[in-house]
């Protein structure tokens, strides 16, 4: 998982939400995933838990 791929995936989630492609149930799933992506990047920026790479 790189910064670029995380960013790309986040953009896709936003796009889906924007054009109503997501129903409520999927939405909670997607928002949770988005949260994971953001946290991953924030940690990676600060080199926290370098082994986070394996998690995604």
């Amino acid at each position: 998982m790189t910064y670029e791929s995380a960013l790309k995936e986040l953009q896709e989630v936003i796009e889906d939400l924007r054009n109503e492609m997501v129903n409520v149930d999927d939405m909670t799933e997607k928002v949770k995933r988005a949260k994971e992506l953001i946290d991953f990047c924030k940690n990676k920026l600060r080199n926290v838990g370098e082994d986070l790479d394996g998690l995604f």
């Binding site: 910064y3 670029e4 936003i14 939405m27 928002v31 990047c41 924030k42």
Partner: protein
């Protein structure tokens, strides 16, 4: 035959030169070699097209050198270098023992700087033609600059400032910098930087960017960064190159070809931190947009539910109202019908009563009717009687009974 002693000859030449070349002259030439000892500078001057067309040695006494320093500042050292095209003010003397000697009395810095500028311009134009000027700049910076290859010299002040600035960033970002030490001053700048650039290129996947920093110190060797070879390699480099050479007046060729050129090493560190901050901000923005969109969606659903709820409520209410209405209607109807039913029944009863009234035997008898019966059985028709025989019949009147016998029967 006439002959002269060597001294006489040299002494004559001294006078000829002293007579004909009294004043010092401005001379354009190139410094082929330059050696300094005890503060004096000994130079080999040449002029050359393809080959050397003129050659001479010249001396710059320490005294004159210090005068030049005072007049032109430390930039003079940048000019007094091998390979430099210079304009020198030379005093020519012929010495009986040392022969022809040129003494440097002054130097025209602008001439050399002009030459340098022209050369630099030429290089820039060549790079322009080859499309090298913007090449490194076109490389898109990765989302985050976290693995940096640094070309600097260990003890360069700039290097320490750069590291400190990175380490003390308030956002807590970590940036790993790997050092590729190279001389940043003196003659082997080119060789060492080229060497390190090559090394970095081999392991380029390990890095997000290259940083070339020097920082501080004399501006004298800025010229080293007008170096064509280094600039060409940087222009063509597969990774973005950031420069922080530490000067503020003119921009070296290296700065022009680099992806981004910053004024100082600290500025390079800031550039990196800000780049990463920009990334994180974008991330957080997306996060908030996402939560906004999610909220919106949830709100939408809530509205939908509320609508349903309301419609439900409204419907149940109306339904109830309707049923109640129906019930009350029914009730009324029932009452009405019940009433009318009773009324009808009452009427019927009273009719019956009336009828009964009318049919009441007593009353009928009273009205003159009578009940005729034979042997206790009421007879209604003359057929009930035996025509031939006299039968005893009893006739009940309102106030008594008559028994009689039948005589005649006629329709």
């Amino acid at each position: 035959m006439k002959s002269y002693s060597l001294h006489e000859l040299n002494e004559h030449l001294r006078r000829v030169v002293a007579l004909n070349v009294q004043d010092a002259l401005w001379v354009r030439c190139e410094i082929a070699q330059l050696n300094e000892s005890r503060g004096h500078y000994f130079m080999e001057l040449v002029e050359k097209e393809e080959t050397i067309t003129a050659k001479a040695s010249a001396i710059l006494w320490m005294r004159s050198y210090n005068k030049l320093l005072r007049e032109h500042g430390r930039g003079i050292r940048k000019i007094l270098k091998e390979g430099m095209e210079v304009m020198l003010k030379l005093k020519v003397e012929f010495h009986e023992v040392y022969g022809m000697q040129y003494y440097v009395e002054d130097i025209d810095a602008s001439f050399t700087l002009g030459k340098l500028a022209i050369r630099k311009q030429a290089i820039l134009e060549a790079f322009e033609q080859e499309g090298l000027l913007g090449k490194n700049t076109e490389i898109a910076l990765p989302a985050v600059l976290q693995k940096i290859a640094i070309i600097s010299s260990e003890n360069a002040a700039g290097y320490q400032d750069y590291l400190k600035q990175l380490e003390e960033n308030v956002f807590g970002y970590t940036v790993d910098s790997q050092m590729f030490a190279a001389a940043m001053q003196g003659i082997n700048v080119e060789e060492e930087i080229l060497f390190q650039l090559k090394r970095i290129k081999k392991q380029k996947d390990k890095f997000d960017a290259v940083v070339i920093i020097r920082g501080g110190g004399a501006k004298l060797d800025l010229m080293a960064f007008d170096n064509e070879k280094i600039s060409r390699v940087v222009a063509d480099f597969p990774l973005p190159v950031l420069t922080g050479i530490g000067h503020d007046i003119d921009e070296s060729i290296l700065d022009r070809v680099a992806h981004s050129s910053l004024k100082t090493p600290t500025a390079v560190a800031d550039f990196i931190i800000n780049h990463n901050l920009f990334f994180e901000n974008k991330l957080l923005q997306m996060g908030s947009e996402l939560s906004f969109l999610a909220q919106e969606k949830i709100q939408e659903q809530i509205f939908v539910l509320q609508n349903i709820e309301q419609t439900l409520q409204w419907q149940t209410e109306t339904f109830l109202k309707n049923t109640l209405q129906e019930i009350s209607l029914l009730e009324n109807e029932m009452q009405l019908s019940a009433k009318s039913f009773f009324q009808k029944e009452e009427k019927r009863i009273s009719n019956l009563e009336a009828i009964f009234e009318v049919l009441d035997p007593e009353k009928t008898l009273k009205r003159g009717f009578s009940l005729t019966s034979v042997d206790g059985k009421i007879i209604k028709s003359i057929k009930d009687l035996d025509p031939k025989k006299e039968t005893e019949i009893t006739t009940q009147l309102s106030d008594g009974i008559i028994t009689s016998k039948t005589k005649k029967k006629s329709k």
